[in-house]
Symmetry: C2
Subunit: 86 residues, 2 copies
Protein backbone atom coordinates (compact mmCIF):
# COMPACT_ATOMS: atom_id res chain seq x y z
CA UNK A 1 0.00 0.00 0.00
CA UNK A 2 1.42 3.36 -0.99
CA UNK A 3 1.23 6.53 1.05
CA UNK A 4 2.10 10.14 0.34
CA UNK A 5 3.94 11.88 3.18
CA UNK A 6 4.65 15.58 3.72
CA UNK A 7 7.42 16.27 6.23
CA UNK A 8 8.49 19.70 7.50
CA UNK A 9 12.02 20.21 8.83
CA UNK A 10 12.54 23.57 10.52
CA UNK A 11 15.10 25.24 12.73
CA UNK A 12 14.36 25.02 16.44
CA UNK A 13 12.94 28.10 18.15
CA UNK A 14 15.81 30.29 19.29
CA UNK A 15 18.24 29.16 16.58
CA UNK A 16 19.19 32.16 14.47
CA UNK A 17 17.75 31.88 10.95
CA UNK A 18 19.70 34.16 8.59
CA UNK A 19 17.64 33.05 5.58
CA UNK A 20 14.43 33.94 7.42
CA UNK A 21 15.89 37.32 8.37
CA UNK A 22 16.80 37.98 4.75
CA UNK A 23 13.32 37.04 3.52
CA UNK A 24 11.77 39.20 6.25
CA UNK A 25 13.85 42.16 5.09
CA UNK A 26 12.73 41.65 1.50
CA UNK A 27 9.05 41.38 2.50
CA UNK A 28 9.25 44.49 4.69
CA UNK A 29 10.87 46.29 1.76
CA UNK A 30 7.86 45.30 -0.33
CA UNK A 31 5.58 46.81 2.31
CA UNK A 32 4.32 43.66 4.06
CA UNK A 33 3.86 43.79 7.85
CA UNK A 34 5.55 40.49 8.70
CA UNK A 35 7.59 39.29 11.67
CA UNK A 36 9.33 36.14 12.84
CA UNK A 37 9.88 34.81 9.34
CA UNK A 38 11.46 31.34 9.44
CA UNK A 39 12.56 29.30 6.45
CA UNK A 40 12.70 25.51 6.53
CA UNK A 41 12.47 22.52 4.22
CA UNK A 42 9.45 20.55 3.10
CA UNK A 43 9.84 17.00 1.82
CA UNK A 44 7.16 15.21 -0.15
CA UNK A 45 7.50 11.50 -0.87
CA UNK A 46 5.71 8.30 -1.67
CA UNK A 47 6.39 5.39 0.62
CA UNK A 48 5.42 1.74 0.69
CA UNK A 49 3.94 0.37 3.92
CA UNK A 50 1.57 -2.36 5.13
CA UNK A 51 -0.72 -0.01 7.03
CA UNK A 52 -1.19 3.65 7.90
CA UNK A 53 0.40 3.05 11.31
CA UNK A 54 3.48 1.54 9.70
CA UNK A 55 3.62 4.37 7.15
CA UNK A 56 3.53 6.92 9.97
CA UNK A 57 6.32 5.13 11.80
CA UNK A 58 8.43 4.98 8.63
CA UNK A 59 7.78 8.65 7.78
CA UNK A 60 8.79 9.74 11.27
CA UNK A 61 11.94 7.60 11.11
CA UNK A 62 12.80 9.19 7.75
CA UNK A 63 12.20 12.69 9.15
CA UNK A 64 14.42 11.87 12.12
CA UNK A 65 17.15 10.64 9.79
CA UNK A 66 17.07 13.80 7.67
CA UNK A 67 16.81 16.41 10.43
CA UNK A 68 19.76 17.64 12.43
CA UNK A 69 18.76 16.77 16.02
CA UNK A 70 20.79 19.61 17.51
CA UNK A 71 19.32 22.43 15.43
CA UNK A 72 16.13 21.22 13.78
CA UNK A 73 12.68 19.88 14.57
CA UNK A 74 10.53 17.81 12.24
CA UNK A 75 6.78 17.46 11.80
CA UNK A 76 4.78 14.90 9.84
CA UNK A 77 2.49 17.47 8.24
CA UNK A 78 0.35 15.04 6.23
CA UNK A 79 0.10 11.32 5.49
CA UNK A 80 -2.47 10.01 3.04
CA UNK A 81 -3.08 6.81 1.10
CA UNK A 82 -1.81 7.55 -2.39
CA UNK A 83 -5.13 7.29 -4.25
CA UNK A 84 -6.50 10.25 -2.25
CA UNK A 85 -3.64 12.44 -3.44
CA UNK A 86 -4.05 11.68 -7.12
Amino acid sequence: MKFHATILIELKEGILDPQGRAVEGVLKGLGYAVEQVRVGRVLEMELEAESEAQAKETALAIAGALANPVMEVYTLEALKPLQEVL
Copy 2:
Protein backbone atom coordinates in the same frame (compact mmCIF):
# COMPACT_ATOMS: atom_id res chain seq x y z
CA MET B 1 -4.89 41.23 14.61
CA LYS B 2 -1.97 38.89 14.16
CA PHE B 3 -1.96 35.68 12.19
CA HIS B 4 0.51 32.85 11.78
CA ALA B 5 0.95 31.65 8.20
CA THR B 6 2.66 28.53 6.89
CA ILE B 7 3.52 28.67 3.19
CA LEU B 8 4.97 25.84 1.09
CA ILE B 9 6.97 26.63 -2.05
CA GLU B 10 7.75 23.58 -4.17
CA LEU B 11 9.02 22.81 -7.63
CA LYS B 12 6.31 22.21 -10.21
CA GLU B 13 5.57 18.62 -11.23
CA GLY B 14 7.89 17.67 -14.05
CA ILE B 15 10.70 20.02 -13.05
CA LEU B 16 13.80 17.97 -12.25
CA ASP B 17 14.60 18.10 -8.53
CA PRO B 18 18.26 17.14 -7.99
CA GLN B 19 18.02 17.71 -4.23
CA GLY B 20 15.03 15.36 -4.06
CA ARG B 21 16.91 12.76 -6.08
CA ALA B 22 19.87 13.02 -3.73
CA VAL B 23 17.67 12.63 -0.64
CA GLU B 24 15.88 9.68 -2.29
CA GLY B 25 19.24 8.00 -2.90
CA VAL B 26 20.25 8.48 0.72
CA LEU B 27 16.93 7.11 2.01
CA LYS B 28 17.09 4.08 -0.28
CA GLY B 29 20.64 3.49 0.94
CA LEU B 30 19.25 3.46 4.49
CA GLY B 31 16.72 0.81 3.40
CA TYR B 32 13.55 2.93 3.09
CA ALA B 33 11.14 2.11 0.25
CA VAL B 34 10.56 5.68 -0.96
CA GLU B 35 9.87 7.19 -4.38
CA GLN B 36 9.20 10.58 -5.90
CA VAL B 37 11.02 12.49 -3.18
CA ARG B 38 10.70 16.24 -3.69
CA VAL B 39 12.35 18.93 -1.60
CA GLY B 40 10.89 22.40 -1.25
CA ARG B 41 10.82 25.32 1.16
CA VAL B 42 8.48 26.04 4.03
CA LEU B 43 8.04 29.58 5.33
CA GLU B 44 6.51 30.36 8.68
CA MET B 45 5.66 33.96 9.56
CA GLU B 46 3.51 36.24 11.66
CA LEU B 47 1.55 38.84 9.79
CA GLU B 48 -0.66 41.74 10.77
CA ALA B 49 -4.12 41.97 9.15
CA GLU B 50 -7.60 43.33 9.85
CA SER B 51 -9.38 40.03 9.26
CA GLU B 52 -8.73 36.40 8.34
CA ALA B 53 -9.74 37.14 4.74
CA GLN B 54 -7.21 39.96 4.52
CA ALA B 55 -4.53 37.80 6.15
CA LYS B 56 -5.16 35.08 3.57
CA GLU B 57 -4.90 37.60 0.73
CA THR B 58 -1.64 38.99 2.15
CA ALA B 59 -0.17 35.53 2.73
CA LEU B 60 -0.97 34.48 -0.84
CA ALA B 61 0.53 37.71 -2.19
CA ILE B 62 3.70 37.06 -0.15
CA ALA B 63 3.88 33.46 -1.41
CA GLY B 64 3.49 34.70 -4.97
CA ALA B 65 6.27 37.26 -4.45
CA LEU B 66 8.69 34.63 -3.08
CA ALA B 67 7.99 31.80 -5.54
CA ASN B 68 9.49 31.62 -9.01
CA PRO B 69 6.40 31.52 -11.24
CA VAL B 70 8.17 29.56 -13.97
CA MET B 71 9.41 26.69 -11.83
CA GLU B 72 7.57 26.74 -8.53
CA VAL B 73 4.09 26.44 -7.06
CA TYR B 74 3.00 27.76 -3.68
CA THR B 75 0.42 26.61 -1.16
CA LEU B 76 -0.96 28.38 1.90
CA GLU B 77 -0.68 25.33 4.16
CA ALA B 78 -2.07 26.93 7.31
CA LEU B 79 -3.34 30.30 8.55
CA LYS B 80 -4.35 30.76 12.18
CA PRO B 81 -4.98 33.66 14.51
CA LEU B 82 -1.80 33.96 16.57
CA GLN B 83 -3.26 33.11 20.00
CA GLU B 84 -4.19 29.62 18.73
CA VAL B 85 -0.58 28.96 17.83
CA LEU B 86 0.86 29.93 21.21
